[in-house]
Amino acid sequence: MNKKVMQGNEACAHGALAAGVRFFGGYPITPSTEVAEVMAKELPKVGGKFIQMEDEIASMAAVIGASLTGKKVLTATSGPGFSLKQENLGYACLTEVPCVVVNVQRGGPSTGLPTSPAQSDVMQAKWGTHGDHPIIVISPSTVKECYTLTVRAVNLAEKYMTPVVFLMDEVIGHLREPIDFDEVKDLEVVDRKKPDVSPEEYVSYAAGEDGIPVLAPFGTGYRYHVTGLTHDEQGFSTMAPPVVARMNQRLMDKIDNNLDDIITFESENLEDADVVLVAYGSSARSAKEAMRWLNAADQNVGLFRPITIWPFPEKEIRKIAGNVKAIVVPEMNMGQLKLEIERAAAGLTKVIGVNKVDGEPITPEEIINAVKGVL
């Protein structure tokens, strides 16, 4: 046993360090600032670099630049800062530069409720930057997960050469819970691939059979071009329709062809359930509690907790939808993931939202009331 009590934000930073992150660029914003503070303190100890940039646009740019030198990189922000990062987040999607963007969600829109929790950036995390693009979004529910899933987020970014959004919320970010470091010390760590050909044979965006390109770190003798313009396999801009179509398709396919590897979730009591709660982040904690109380009262209620929010676990939801009277979706927004669940359920069952946007977390009672309305 090697237990330490820490905040979700701190756990996220320590997870990043354990995953091999050696560069952080950020800009302070509540409720994410502790991530930057831990990184500022810890990175130099391991020879890493921390920089507080002049804004979130610059932070996003700096981590992409750093990643191209081969470093694992992280940035952390919240609502308004996440909005500012969007253009360069799209740049990272298109140029396939691995990076992890932490967004500790707070109440919005605009400056909103800086110190209150929300889950209102679910759709922004997927669609915030312009253009069709793939993205991976992961949402932790416990402090331990802030650690373990940050490691996973970094791994996925490196493996699939893509940005990963780590979508926390204020409750999880500031919650204090113990982590037993003996339990998390042997987590798998993934490094991006290195070229296995000579510089003469190297084609930066050729991407092998898995559709994932190998980007050599700048300075290692493989000179190539990176651009946010739609590009060909050599990395140079093109407007040739077949090449453009192929590139856009490959970008989506590298994620869509690997859903079984990327999508993770937790489920409980799905067999025989009359109602399934679908919840993520801190709302999943209340949902779990609600389920316990309902189960104790002999109600067949199950829980499905997507850990990967995007790509969305569509197959799993469709399966659930075919077997239940209703799906109840508690979220601290006006019904964002609910839309996606309805789409996946395709009319097979009712989808009922428990929504709250007053800056307070959703309570188990509120979820129980919604379930009772169906049962």
Binding site: R22, F23, G25, P44, K45, G47, K49, I51, M53, E54, D55, I57, A58, S59, A61, A62, V63, I64, G65, A66, S67, L68, T69, G70, K71, V73, E87, N88, Y91, F218, G219, T220, G221, R223, Y224, H225, V226, T227, G228, L229, F236, S237
Partner: protein, 273 residues
């Protein structure tokens, strides 16, 4: 092309897309000559640019090249340089790119005195989008978005970066191409943030609208209005009216950011606070 400089260009990407008479190509040639003079290691050099006609430069030069988003080149470059200070980092930007949307990054790169050499191609206009005014369009001049003449005051970027902390500040022109090469060389040798403003011409989006019929007229304008800093010392304000200064405008000593950060790492790893 002179074979000594050929190796700095991606031959398969040429010819470039710039309009006939555009100054960008001449600035790029001055850059290539500077690389030759510096005997630079192409593998260890990163060239970053923003978005604009001038920023297309990164397509043509054979280095690790990074064509970023509009205005953000210096922020990307800061990440590159801090993550690996062994890399030589050069940045190409347009006047709009560097001074409007990217103005804040220019200020902070200067303040940090990060070892990056920035070449700002100043054609007084937004070339790529077809001739809208930039913060460097002189008051009174015409642009598609200043059809009655530019109302705002224009920037002196060299003064700005000097005030913000850059340790090497210079201005050159396309007409004085040899000097421009020398300035890029000197900027690259400065261990800190160096800015070289290259006054250039955009006959298509600026010249035509401002009574300068072609590139030749515009280059002549540069010749007639540029005054070397040394020569300027012997001139009176009346003589200097309507003129602009070229040459090495400012140099200073200051700690360089990435070196300072490396010292911090050393201190922390030794257990210091």
């Amino acid at each position: 092309m002179n074979s000594a400089y050929e190796k700095y260009f991606r031959q398969d990407r040429l010819p470039h897309i710039w309009c006939p008479g555009c100054g960008n190509g001449i600035v790029l040639s001055a850059f290539a000559r500077a690389m030759e003079e510096l005997n630079i290691d192409q593998d260890k050099t990163v060239v970053v640019s923003g978005i604009g006609c001038s920023s297309r430069a990164t397509t043509y030069v054979d280095f690790n090249t990074l064509h970023t988003t509009h205005g953000r080149a210096l922020a990307f470059a800061t990440g590159v340089k801090l993550a690996n200070p062994e890399l030589n980092v050069f940045v190409f930007m347009g006047d709009g790119d560097s001074s409007a949307i990217g103005g804040n990054h220019l200020i902070h790169a200067s303040r940090r005195n990060i070892d990056i050499t920035a070449i700002i191609i100043d054609n007084n206009i937004y070339g790529m989008t077809g001739g809208q005014y930039s913060p460097l369009t002189p008051t009174g001049k015409k642009a598609t978005t200043a059809p009655y003449g530019m109302v705002e005051r224009n920037f002196d970027l060299c003064e700005l970066v000097k005030g913000a902390g850059a340790t090497f500040v210079a201005r050159g022109t396309v007409y004085h191409a040899k000097q421009l090469t020398d300035l890029i060389v000197a900027g690259a040798k400065n261990k800190g943030f160096s800015v070289i403003e290259a006054v250039s011409q955009c006959p298509i989006s600026y010249g035509r609208r401002n009574k300068m019929k072609n590139a030749l007229e515009m280059i002549n304008w540069q010749k007639e209005h540029a005054v070397n800093v040394k020569a300027a010392q012997k001139m009176n304000p009346e003589q200097l009216k309507d003129k602009f200064l070229i040459g090495e405008l400012y140099r200073a000593e200051a700690p360089e950011y990435t070196a300072e950060y490396d010292k911090l790492i050393e201190r922390v790893q030794k257990g210091g606070k």
